[in-house]
Structures are given as C-alpha cells and as structure tokens.
Symmetry: C2
Subunit: 227 residues, 2 copies
DNA sequence: CCAAAAGTGTTAGACTTACACCCATGG
DNA sequence: CCATGGGTGTAAGTCTAACACTTTTGG
C-alpha cells in the first residue's frame, strides 16, 4: 500500500494543491483577488491564488498557503482559515487532484503593498474562472456571509484599529442587510470583543465628529446569536 | 511543475487519505467507531476508519469515503459530511501526508449490520490513537456539539422515523444540557423540519403512552438560533 | 449656530423560560 | 383507577427592534 512510481495505477498519488480565496471590501462590495495564471493549463487566465504543496519546503498546508500568498501577492501575515477540500478526477485536466481551499481576509489598504497584476472581482460574480474556482469562490462567500453574522470574522476586513461606524459598515456589507446602530453597539459591547484605545479617535472622510478607535480584544470570537 | 517520480524532491506528491469519524450514541454517550489497523504502521491498533484515495476507482474523496465505509464497516448510505483536512510532514511516519477528515453519523441499531471487529469508544476519551487521530476526533466532536445546537444534524443519530422524546434525548446528549420539553417542541415545530407520520406511533421500552412518529422533512436544516 | 455623523436612552412588543396542567395507556 | 411518560397551555420575566434623542465636531 505504498505509493508507486508508475503511472495510471490505482496507487498513483493525486495532485495536491491549495487555493486561496483572498477577499476584501471594495466600495462596500465583497471582492475576490485573482491573479493571471503563470503556467498552463489556463495560462494567463485570472484564477484563485494557488499552488502545489511542496513536501520539502512546506511543513503543512498552512505553510503552503503562507508561501503562496507571499510569492504570488507579496503579502505576509494575512488572516487565513481553511474552508474545505475540493477533490476529484475531473476538476483539473492534468488528472485526479485535491485542492485544500482557504479563505483569506484583508483590508483594502493592505492590497496596495501587494504584488502588481492582481485583479479584483465582485465575489458575487467573479466571471468565468478555470477549474472549479467558481464553486470555491461560492463556498467561500457563503461561509463568510453565514459565519459573519455569528463571529468577529468580518473584522478581519478592517485595519488593526477601527471605529464602530466602520465596523458596522463592514458587517452590513458582509451580511447584506442594514443593522440598527444602537442594537449593533449593544451587542458588540456585551460580547466584549473590542477594547477602546484610550484617547485615540479618527475622523471620517467627510470631516465630522471623530469616532473612538477600537481594536479586537480576542483573535476571533463566536457568538450564539446573530448580530 | 509536473509531478516527478524520483523521491525526496520538492515536487514529490504527498500521500492522500481520508479518515472518517463515525459516531453514534451509546447509552446516551457520543461514541466513535474504531477499527484495528490492518497494515503497518500501527498494525493492530484501533484507529479511525480510513484509507488511501484511489485515483482510478474513486471519482472524488466522497467516493473514497463511501468505499472505506463499505469495505471496512460493511455500511452503505451513511450520512457523511466533510470536516476539514489535516496535513503535514509529521502526522504520518511514512512522510508528508494529507488526510481529508469526515464526520459520519448513524443510529446504534445500524451498527449491528456492520462488520465485526469494530470498537466503540467514548468520543470524549477514545484512548491513545495513532497518527493525529486524537486531534481529528476532537475536532469532529466539537463540530457536532456546536453545529448540533443550530441544525437538524443530530437527527442523523436516529433511525429514519423517531418520536419527539427520542429526538430530545439525542439533542440533550449531543449538546450536553437539559432542554425544556415545551420549548424544544415549539422550536422544532416552528422550524418545520419534521413531518408526522399519520397514525404511526411507538411505545417506549417501559410501555406507557405511545408517542407520535416523525421523519425529517428536509435533509438537513440550519437554524439561526440555538435550540 | 448649522449640518452631519457619533453615540445614548426608552419603550412597546416579541419571545422564552419555567412550570403547571391535561391526556393516553398498560397493568 | 393509578402510575408514568407524552403532550399542551400560560404567565412572568427577559430581550430586542425601532426610533427619538443628545453630543461633538468643522465650517
């Protein structure tokens, strides 16, 4: 039951890759970051950031993801979490393959430090993507929408410090519905997920009353009610 | 960037397997089904049901899972859902490997039709398992506990038809807390997840008033509040 | 002092919890 | 006709959505 080196046998090892659905918020719309494929198949076509697992350099699939984000987008320390694995004989023309799909979130500002050549597409309609990348993007979008209403996950679309109005806008964009300001604040406060940064405030673009700055108190928090 | 046949290269393909955390309810306690390993490493030790992905016979990883359940436990048409993928250089002594982990649920009765030699262990304390199987069981248990409070998932631990008292017992075992009978029934009714089977009832073991039999109306339903 | 956005308070109504109660059955 | 578990009703208390209101700022 060890792997063989011949081809076309039942004991051939499948291809193993990772694919990252890197998302951000652009003008209130959830968007996916795509990169033109460097190699065949589908060379030149915009696709998810992905790559082969390298058994010598990558300790595990999380390490592969970090490497891919670094190599293809020049990004480090992005928030990532595993989505699920897509597999099968038909998803890749090169043969039976499995791709461990990840969700990654970052604030728009950070994309400016990223590699050139990246493309931003609406997560709801990213166009026709190669492989099963449309299904992967769909699953990522659904997961963020669902989990977003029950966790501090959407905060990962914000910079390290942010105001409550900013945070509310992000939640509204992710969940896709308007939230009552008063209720939103009450719930966030109850959860104790945020800590104010004393004395620090920020004005919005149209300069009005400055808002208190906050940061996340805990890395990620799950609630047991919707926001 | 194609796979090579030589060993120890960065482009070697990793091992790809599936592991199934098959769970049932035994005397009110969530339990995992283990099987003694047929091959080395850890030959003879109880471990999760698992096996290599076979690129010729298995259309995708779901098919591998169905095959593994059929071959190792003589079970067909068991409810399964993907958990997540565990990967890395160190989890298997044979080298870099990825295992797509699945949760599978079935009622205790069905285990009687299963293969001999299977072992049932408490999900909370399955003993010392090989590979990272303790971590996988832990993740499966957590997922079932969390998702259980928000979905009809625990109903997959019941036979196709069941009574409301039976269902309530299952939820109490999975979530780990007592539920108010009246509230439980109201919530289940609101969700419309069950349909009564007209005229059909079942007596409990200690023969008293017979209870109405129900079946699931939809395959799986997610709620937006806890039960 | 006005406009606009940040932030707080209040109240009607919805929802739940906790418990009491009624019902059906076998012995 | 009683014991037991299935099944239903309800009142007190809690929670929340919705909206009105106050505060802070720049011009």
């Amino acid at each position: 039951m060890t792997a063989r080196t011949s081809s076309d046998g039942d004991f051939d090892r499948p291809i193993l890759t990772v694919d990252v659905v890197l998302m951000t918020l652009l003008e209130g719309h959830l968007s996916v970051v795509l990169a033109p494929r460097a190699i065949d198949p589908f060379k030149g076509k915009p696709a998810l950031l992905g790559g082969y697992v390298r058994v010598n350099s990558d300790a595990d699939a999380d390490a592969t993801v970090a490497r891919v984000l670094s190599e293809k987008a020049k990004l480090k320390e992005v928030y990532v979490e595993q989505l699920r694995t897509f597999s099968g004989r038909k998803r890749d023309p090169r043969g039976w393959s499995a791709s461990i799909a990840y969700i990654a979130l970052l604030p728009l500002e950070r994309l400016e430090q990223a590699a050139a050549g990246l493309v931003l597409k609406p997560a709801d309609n990213p166009g026709n993507l190669p492989f099963d990348h449309n299904a992967i993007v769909g699953a990522a979008r659904d997961r963020l929408r669902t989990k977003g209403a029950y966790s501090t996950l959407p905060a990962r679309l914000l910079p390290p410090t942010f105001t409550l109005p900013e945070m509310q806008q992000v939640y509204e964009a992710v969940i896709g519905e308007r939230l009552d300001q008063s209720s939103f604040r009450r719930k966030i406060a109850e959860l104790g997920a945020l800590e104010p940064i004393p004395g620090e405030t920020r004005r919005s673009v149209t300069v009005r009353r400055p808002a208190q700055l906050y940061r996340l108190a805990a890395p990620i928090t799950l609630f047991d009610k919707r926001l």
